[in-house]
Symmetry: C2
Subunit: 394 residues, 2 copies
């Protein structure tokens, strides 16, 4: 069947991270490679009780087919939270429950992208978005991000030369880099986007996991008609349930619902009801506070260990939240080569390469700090520092 | 944003059934329009206990991200069942858990169809498949099906003129028509497909719901390298969990996994674990036997009522299983017009039109018999008979 495949799938490479994670199955390896939330914080008892209770209350109903948009009361919870956290007034009809926020990316690609359409992606950018959009064969326009947000000079340059349909952003504690957009940067980006037909996709899986600083303005406030929000319960409750959401203006939502029906009819309704019950009976912010406390300490431990063990000419970001930080080696150093050396010392990370749409190697790497305790972090960074010294000395 | 949408979504009409189902929300209407399994048979207690038990046994594990292919032991259960029921020896690696079998259709469209590629679809055919495939903009070649299976003369004609990439079939108790392919018909179809690069998609959501007759041979036995199987727990356990599966030869599975990752990373793992626990602790065939008994009686009631109340020149199929039967009015009669008249008498069905890829009206209609008790069925068919007499007399 080899020659029968569609052009879109033939173009997509096998997941690089998948291959890397295979290496890290070895339990003796200290892995900063994963992108997982820390399982210690999964509310096992709370979800178990919620499951029991929804079966008691509505056993037959929660097992039947339901509407494609998702459980109205769960969508109401999400709307209430936007009001409370961001001062946004979002009607329930503008919210759709997705099978993880990953599905939101696929649906948006599906309803917007013709082959060759221009799409702005952050550089470095979220790998899952690159993969999802790649299937619709856009032309990627990468725009660099750094501490403080998107490079607006580069963005202005792209907007002068191209007519992008979509601008994909992870404005808080970005995956992979950990950077956040300042309010000034958000305003500057919005000013450049004003009056265009380009849609801003603001993907915010980590926004609630803020250790320091204050909550920033949403593009939905700045450009309400041209912004789609993606959100997720994967990092605040649990990822296995695959519960995310998408907020879109009415004309876009109509098309999204058609694509959603064709994709999976609706997202697991039992899971929606269990989660909603859990959210009624437990305070999400109290739960999140305990996650933040530990992730924040682990991030500090990693930053401090990097200061101690990495050569002075290696840079790293200092995220205000989330799960990742980003390391930049001296110009010309290969993070792919470093990966081989680090594995020999039994420490793993993800080389920066797959987070760019157009590179074969890079001097950057992503480190995850959510899944290792502080002493493991110190030991892992020490080993990684040794590997970097070895690489740079060569 | 109107002009910014992709060509593929602009081409897809709004769901017709969705609009019809809105009419039937009125509780005083007897509805044969839905496509739902009967909620009385949802194993509420069994799934509640399974949920409790998996949280006890593996609470943290079942809430974490997992692999895209799905829970190996659930896939093993599916493999064992194929061995037991069909004598098929399918390796676990060839099975992927999908977010409902609907997702299987989307993934197959995604990895196979370029715009304009030829695709054979049954006429009438499953609406969800027409919708899912439409997004990839194929050229549909409808081939009629009738009692006994696919029209092989018409199939041979299409194969002479076109180079289809996919042949989509629902071989048992088809949605919408209720027809099944005989063994002879399966062999005849397979003979025509032999030696071609065209892939047969055998979608079998209803196969286990057989009231009479015997299990038929699978295309997977006839053309193993060119057959993809889709299956679902929606009609045998419960649809809300959105748990289906896809069986594909290795080279196809590799591409499917890439598309699956991009679509939703993986299917709800909590749901997979709950279902697997339920299947370990309960005998699925015993459960299915109780469903079959009732659906079979309801189908008989509907067939008998049709004989009593419909004019003699109206035909209907007599399914050996499943949830639907198919009515053909005299030539030239409009099922859309009948729908309006029937709603006035407070009985609903789905006109045949949306099950064809190219018609604005038809003299056919789909009746669901899984969700109404026998006395309701008799009353509803009586009213529908009145409406048909009224229509035909006009």
């Amino acid at each position: 069947m080899e020659n029968a495949f569609s052009d879109r799938i033939t173009d997509v490479p096998k997941s690089f991270i998948r291959e890397i994670l295979k290496v890290t199955i070895d339990k003796s390896i200290i892995s900063f490679a994963g992108g997982l939330p820390n399982r210690e914080f999964f509310p096992v008892r709370g979800l178990q009780k919620a499951a029991h209770d929804v079966f008691e209350e509505a056993g037959h109903e929660i097992l039947q087919y339901t509407n494609s948009e998702g459980y109205p009361e769960l969508r109401q919870f999400i709307a209430d939270r936007y009001r409370q956290k961001d001062g946004l007034d979002i009607p329930v009809e503008d919210i759709l429950i997705t099978t993880g926020s990953q599905q939101g990316l696929d649906l948006l690609g599906k309803i917007f992208l013709n082959k060759g359409d221009d799409l702005i992606i952050e550089e470095p950018g979220y790998l899952g978005a690159i993969q999802a959009f790649s299937l619709y064969r856009p032309r990627f326009s990468p725009v660099p991000v750094h501490e403080g947000g998107m490079d607006t000079t580069a963005l202005a340059g792209v907007l002068r030369e191209r007519q992008p349909k979509l601008l994909y952003t992870v404005t808080n504690f970005q995956n992979p880099s950990g950077i956040s957009y300042t309010n000034e940067n958000r305003h500057a980006v919005a000013d450049l986007m004003q009056g265009r037909t380009c849609l801003i996709i603001q993907d915010d899986p980590y926004g609630d996991l803020r250790f320091t600083g204050y909550r920033k303005i949403s593009f939905k406030q700045l450009l309400p008609d041209n912004t789609v929000l993606l959100g997720s319960f994967s990092k605040t409750v649990a990822p296995a349930l695959r519960l995310g959401w998408l907020v879109a203006p009415r004309p876009i939502m109509e098309k999204i619902v058609v694509a959603k029906q064709a994709a999976d009819l609706h997202t697991d309704y039992l899971a929606q009801r269990i989660l909603h019950r859990f959210l009624l009976d437990n305070d999400l912010d109290t739960h999140i506070a305990s996650i933040i406390r530990q992730y924040g300490q682990q991030k500090e431990a990693m930053i401090n260990a990097i200061k101690t063990y990495f050569p002075a000419n290696v840079q790293c970001t200092n995220p205000e939240g989330g799960m990742f930080l980003w390391v930049t080696l001296p110009e010309g150093a290969s993070s792919m080569q470093l990966f081989e050396m680090a594995i020999a010392k039994k420490v793993a990370f993800v080389p920066g390469t797959p987070f760019y749409v157009d590179r074969k190697d890079s001097n950057t790497l992503r480190l995850n700090f959510s899944c290792s305790d502080e002493s493991t972090i110190v030991e892992g960074i020490k080993r990684l520092g040794d590997s970097i010294n070895q690489l740079v000395d060569n």
